[in-house]
Amino acid sequence: MSGSHRGNLRRLHVAVDSPVHRLDPAAELVGTVAFAVVVAGTPRHAVAVFALEAAVLVVVVVVSRIGARRVLARLAVVTPFIVFALAIPFVAHGPRTEVGGVPVSTEGLWAAWNVVARTTLGATAAIVMSATTPLPSMLEGMARLHVPRVVVAIVSSMVRYVELLAAQLARMRTAMVSRGHDPRWLWQVGPVAASVGMLFVRSYERGERVHGAMVARGFTGTLVVSDRPAVATADWVAALAPAAVSAVAVVVWVVGR
């Protein structure tokens, strides 16, 4: 449903050089999560604060040189929620306001704004992070943030094989078509589902083979993590700056009301 962007893990990272790219991945992860938390905690009536948060993000996007067009293209993933948000004012209860002659719920309008603003800002922050941090660095950052090693290892073996499995599925589809199937119609659902079932079998068997290869090379179940110097203070300051600025703005807005 969410389109062809999925699985293109290689194309996530935008290989240019910028201060955002040079940030330590652990600091950037924390900074992104902190920014998303502040956005989620911004009161819905604080339009000025949302505007400031958007401005901060625009600055980060410009500094990171990943290109506004690419960010907008990846934002397409949130479209369903924007559509949902536009429906809220019509189904919500409460006092009504006229918008272009149509009575809509006032509180519903605020709720719609709330969804649009938070969804866009939160998603943009995640997009900037994945575009400026190569996957291996992100995994290393997770490990240094004390995410359990086994989780990091599972995620890293997942991202390592996603494209391979997607390509395998595409080959199975080609094979189906060459056997005379036309997987665009409902009655073709049987052979299509059979391919997915076979993909599971092949994935599991591949997992067993990979495990065998790992054991042969001396894998004992414990994972080695390379030692890296601690995150520099400058990186922490830079990565947490957007969240800090936004948090201060929220506090000022709440106190000043």
């Binding site: 709720a111 969804t119 998603a123 499995l165 659902v189 589902a193 997915v196 079932g197």
Partner: protein, 336 residues
């Protein structure tokens, strides 16, 4: 589907986000422990590649009608293939990666997204699967039938989980019953597709490598060899049971009587307070709880009556439109 799946940042209130995050972290921590006990040192490659499989399977678009496609959600399917603990872990990894890398689902929404898409489907799906296994024959066909029914119903349960979270953390003045009705209605349709697809996928795996299906480990080789499809009757009975359960249970929640609501509010003297609340920060948290608690029995009876009437109408329609088997004969066709 769009609403329950991959909810963005700030979609539900901060309280719900924190509480569901704590629940999700605890359950996934337990799942990690169980998975490493079950898979031993095979855990990393097997769980990782299985997560990649779920990720890839969600990319595969199934035909619904010309031009329209849908894809597997796979939460309950993962549990049936891999067991509930490994299944929950694997789908949770997928959900987290989708949020971090693809902005598909908010980072601060991960608590409820993991709960609704990984934990609830894996454990509710597994429980329903075991229940259906008791009804179905002990055979490959029985496993496939139980998988289909369990996966389909699990989609509706995920939608219910989201609706319940909405009850505690609504961010818009839409009452619980509206959200619940819309969510369950849409997801009942999606559930039919999910159930059908999951059954076919499990059927394919049962045919090729039945030993890989965690939900069929208890079957003997002979029972696995019994691949007769479960008869239409078992499915009809299953469908009727599902309809009855939903009519009785769902009607308890889908209480839509504004007059009754107002009267309850007046009786308890909180109608003024309710208006105060409407101006406050998060006024909708308890919007619909007031609707529950009254006249459950009559609702259940009404729901049951609805099912009976619907079944009678359906029976009438099928008998009325049943094609009379034509008596093929060259002579009669040529002479008429």
């Amino acid at each position: 589907m769009l609403v329950a799946m991959h909810a963005p940042d700030g979609f539900l209130g901060p309280g719900v986000a924190v509480v569901t995050a704590v629940i999700s972290i605890v359950v996934i921590g337990l799942a990690l422990r169980h998975a490493s006990a079950e898979l031993d040192d095979r855990q990393v490659p097997l769980a990782g590649i299985s997560a990649a499989f779920i990720f890839a399977a969600q990319m595969f678009n199934f035909p619904v009608a010309a031009g329209t496609t849908g894809h597997l959600l796979g939460g309950a399917l993962a549990a049936i293939l891999l067991g509930p603990w490994v299944g929950a872990l694997v789908v949770a990894v997928v959900v987290v990666v989708q949020a971090l890398l693809f902005a598909d689902g908010g980072i601060t929404a991960l608590g409820y997204n993991v709960l609704n898409m990984a934990i609830v489907p894996a454990f509710a799906g597994w429980a329903l699967f075991l229940l259906w296994r008791k009804v179905m024959p002990r055979s490959s066909g029985g496993v496939v039938g139980a998988a289909g029914l369990a996966c389909g119903m699990t989609v509706v349960l995920s939608a219910t989980a989201f609706s319940i979270e909405w009850l505690f953390g609504a961010t818009a003045p839409i009452p619980f019953d509206t959200v619940f009705g819309a969510m369950v209605g849409v997801h009942a349709l999606i559930g039919i597709g999910e159930g059908l697809l999951s059954a076919l996928v499990v059927g394919a795996v049962m045919a090729a490598r039945p030993d890989l299906v965690a939900g069929a480990r208890d079957l003997s080789a002979e029972e696995i060899g019994d691949r007769r499809p479960v008869g239409a009757r078992a499915f009809a009975i299953g469908g009727v049971l599902v309809a009855i359960v939903f009519a009785v249970v769902v009607s308890q929640f889908a209480f839509d009587d504004p007059d009754g609501l107002e009267r309850v509010a007046q009786d308890h003297g909180f109608i003024d307070r309710a208006q105060d609340h409407a101006v406050a920060g998060s006024p909708f948290a308890d919007y619909a709880t007031r609707g529950i608690g009254n006249a459950q029995l009559s609702l259940a009876v009404a729901g049951l009556a609805g099912v009976v009437v619907t079944l009678l109408v359906a029976y009438g329609l099928t008998t009325a439109t049943r094609r009379v088997p034509p008596r093929w004969s060259l002579h009669t066709t040529s002479s008429s």
